[in-house]
């Protein structure tokens, strides 16, 4: 397994494997994304986006770190910021995550966001920033 390679450049493409059920027009639905961390593949280590498609999916949504949403604050005052974190795995060198971090607190993959309502709003905000690179309904890479 390779060493952690951070920071991820702000213009590096990050691929998210998606299925037909995740797409509305050319937009991504919020439930296509996970909280507190959404798995993506770094283009630096996985330059062929089609190879980042998971079995049973069929498409790819893409984002670059500079397009991540601004920090959001819950009604209870909990602040979350979106961070692209390198996270290589034993069987997947290209793995990274878009995490919803609480500033000053260590990231925990089992962290429960302040509330379910706020969690859905975080996912909706992040979903807006993705674009569809390979449409799972018509799997040819977009121009």
């Amino acid at each position: 397994m390779r060493a952690v390679d951070e920071p991820i450049p702000t213009d590096e493409q990050l691929y998210r494997s998606i299925a037909e059920q995740d797409v509305d027009g050319e937009a991504l639905d919020p439930t296509a994304l996970d909280v507190p961390g959404t798995s993506v593949a770094r283009s630096k280590y996985q330059p062929v986006p089609t190879q980042a498609i998971h079995p049973g999916d069929g498409g790819i949504a893409v984002i670059v770190p500079r397009d991540l949403p601004s920090p959001m604050v819950s009604s209870g005052g909990a602040r979350y910021e979106f961070v692209a974190s390198d996270d290589p795995l034993e069987d997947n060198d290209s793995h990274a995550e878009i995490r919803m971090n609480r500033p000053g607190k260590p990231y925990k993959s089992n962290h429960k966001v302040a509330s379910k309502e706020f969690e859905l709003q975080l996912r909706a905000a992040l979903a807006l920033r993705f674009r569809i690179l390979i449409d799972p309904r018509n799997p040819k890479p977009a121009a």
Binding site: A19, Q21, D22, D24, G25, E26, A27, D29, P30, T31, A32, D34, V35, G56, S115, K116, E117, F118, L120, Q121, A124, A125, L128
Partner: protein
């Protein structure tokens, strides 16, 4: 209920206090001296159980002094009732039945994300389907998610440049047993979410107003 007798105005607005609905009635029955009878307009509304109301409006001319008039009125009512019984289920009813089928498919062993979705999420989803059957709002899709959720998506007609629905609402039933609504506007980037405590019909009404409305519910 219609007022009778002494009104001089040719229109009557009857308010039903229980529902707040306003009913407009045609002229109060008046004696027609020339024909020796009276004219009355009756608006008949049939509904089929659990379905979008099917309205059959008929104006029945009843001649009080004419047996033939009564017979023709009975015939019209009979034909109308028969037509309502024989009519195919309205689109709303068919869609709700399809939704039940979709939910059963998502719940089947081997379905996408099935292992991550707890039974309690499906039980909540069944309550959502029951509420949808009683409402006039049909979701565009129902999906399961890798977070262990069942999500119903409702889309507005207005589209973004990329062809997505500008406004959407989703009801998310999670594996903690909670049901949450999200309203989002892809152009303004505003969203609003709240947890439902059994008020599904109210939530559906809000979603319906939002997705094809002015989107004011997504702010604040």
């Amino acid at each position: 209920m219609m007022s009778s007798g002494a009104a001089t105005d040719d229109r009557h607005y009857l308010n039903a206090p229980q529902t707040g609905a306003s009913v407009r009635a045609r002229p109060t029955p008046q004696r027609d001296q020339r024909e020796g009878g009276r004219h009355q307009a009756i608006f008949v509304k049939y509904t089929t159980r659990g379905a979008r109301p099917v309205a059959l409006y008929g104006a029945i001319h009843v001649g009080l002094t004419s047996a033939a008039g009564l017979a023709s009125a009975a015939l019209v009512l009979g034909v109308g009732a028969l037509a309502a019984l024989l009519a195919p289920p309205p689109a709303q009813h068919r869609a709700a039945n399809a939704l039940s089928g979709a939910l059963a498919t998502l719940r089947a062993p081997g379905a996408r994300h099935r292992a991550k979705v707890a039974d309690i999420a499906f039980q909540s989803a069944e309550r959502v389907v029951a509420a949808i059957k009683a409402a006039e709002l049909v979701p565009e899709r129902v999906v399961t998610t890798s977070q262990g959720e069942v999500a119903f998506y409702f889309r507005g007609q207005e589209r973004t440049a990329g062809g997505a629905s500008r406004r959407y609402g989703t009801i998310v039933c999670d594996s903690d047993g909670d049901t949450t609504v999200l309203l989002a506007d892809r152009v303004s980037a505003e969203s609003k979410a709240w947890r439902i405590d059994g008020r599904l019909s109210e939530a559906l009404a809000i979603i319906g107003d939002f997705v094809d409305g002015d989107g004011e519910n997504a702010s604040g």
